[in-house]
Symmetry: C2
Subunit: 251 residues, 2 copies
């Protein structure tokens, strides 16, 4: 399924060990896609093996290219993150420039599959998350700031995806609603702290796509994923109060 139609995705961190049975079980949870990505300690070898396991589920697989080590052939999509609210331009475009300059070393002889490249503009909202520390994020002061970042992402950077990232805790629905209200054609992703059907429904009523990560790594992870899929499918984007543009414009 095309990333423009995902309602629910599971994020797998190549740096965290996971029972192969659990990865296999994802095929039966009803989720739309798997995203391989993490903020720290990504190693190519681990990405390679996790990609194999993820592909075996038959689900669409995206790799989030947060470091050169995540450049591994064979994914359906390559998500290129840019952190909007960072203090360090390295996380916006600097590391990307270096990577393009070093492509001959990173992926010798392999052309960039531009038709599989999807740009993702992050607004990192939880100051306690690893990603906030690693990427030197300055969390927004309120929903107005989230909306303004969304406009920057949509109109100036022309990002494919705007990603409201709370990584590690459940976010403020009003902030996600503010982003929804500023959307014009990109897809709105929400991630962070979703562990129940109710939580999934709250955010899926505001964002196009909800991403569940940590819940999978706890005991009963697959059941938990199933519940969040069910919760996300109970609602439609825009039901949460803020109307949202359809999203998923074609390139």
């Amino acid at each position: 399924m095309d990333w423009r139609r995902w309602r629910h995705a599971v994020k797998l961190d190549p740096a965290r060990p996971l029972d192969p049975e659990v990865v296999r079980g994802l095929a039966t949870t009803g989720t739309d896609a798997l995203i391989l990505g993490g903020s720290d300690g990504i190693r190519r070898e681990a990405v390679f093996h996790l990609l194999g396991a993820a592909r075996a589920t038959g689900l669409p697989v995206a790799i989030e290219v947060s470091s050169e080590e995540a450049v591994v052939p064979g994914a359906d999509w390559y998500l290129i993150p840019m952190v909007l609210n960072t203090r360090d331009p390295r996380w916006l475009v600097g590391a990307h420039r270096e990577a393009f300059q070093n492509l001959h070393r990173i992926a010798p002889g392999i052309p960039v599959p531009w038709d599989r490249v999807v740009t993702v503009a992050y607004v990192v909202c939880n100051p306690d998350a690893t990603v906030a520390r690693v990427a030197a994020a300055v969390p927004p002061a309120g929903p107005d700031e989230v909306a303004a970042w969304t406009t920057v992402a949509e109109r100036l950077l022309r990002a494919d995806i705007v990603y409201i990232e709370y990584s590690g805790r459940f976010g403020d629905p009003a902030w996600v609603g503010a982003a929804a209200g500023a959307m014009r054609g990109a897809r709105l992703f929400y991630g962070g702290g979703i562990g129940t059907a109710e939580q999934a429904a709250v955010m899926a009523a505001r964002a196009h796509t909800v991403v569940v990560g940590n819940a999978l790594y706890r005991p009963g992870g697959l059941e938990c994923i199933r519940a969040t899929v069910e919760g996300a499918r109970r609602v439609r984007p825009g039901e949460g109060g803020e109307p949202i543009a359809a999203g998923g414009r074609l390139p």
Copy 2:
């Protein structure tokens, strides 16, 4: 004339005094357009008056919105600069986010004319230029780095214009050629140190559009502009060695 077809443009700095006769005279130089913009000391009052004088020439007029003070209605285009090679994310997206958040104060009741907004990704190459100091630029180490920045601008930021900025001195044609070789559909602008027909021809053989600024402010400025227009029209983009994609994709 649409900005996607300009071969030659004149940049007028609202912070620098200019004889109104000289502005009027620009109508007869053969240039394609006027760009109002500067790096420092921009005041709304001055932009407003210069816009009036520029409009009176009958030429297309763009305002480069490098500060909130440059938000003045009545231009054909609004160029939104983003400095790729900056140390300070404020010059990439930070000031832009603040401006979107403060629109109700900056331009009360006036909707953003999105169909006139043109995004410009700058690579600032002359470390001695005011823009380099003001925008905390880290000049590229060589043509490979310029090419990689161009790819970031084209593929990740989807900028309308990639602008190789030498402001104040004539640049290295090889660096502009490196940018040209990496173009895919955006327009390549070159600015800096063009004062003769020959200099204009060298850069117009590599970039889609050459921008002439300082030359206008010297004695005999209008004759000098005429010479650079003639030089730019002698050649075609791509004749300088590096082939270049046509540029000017429609939104």
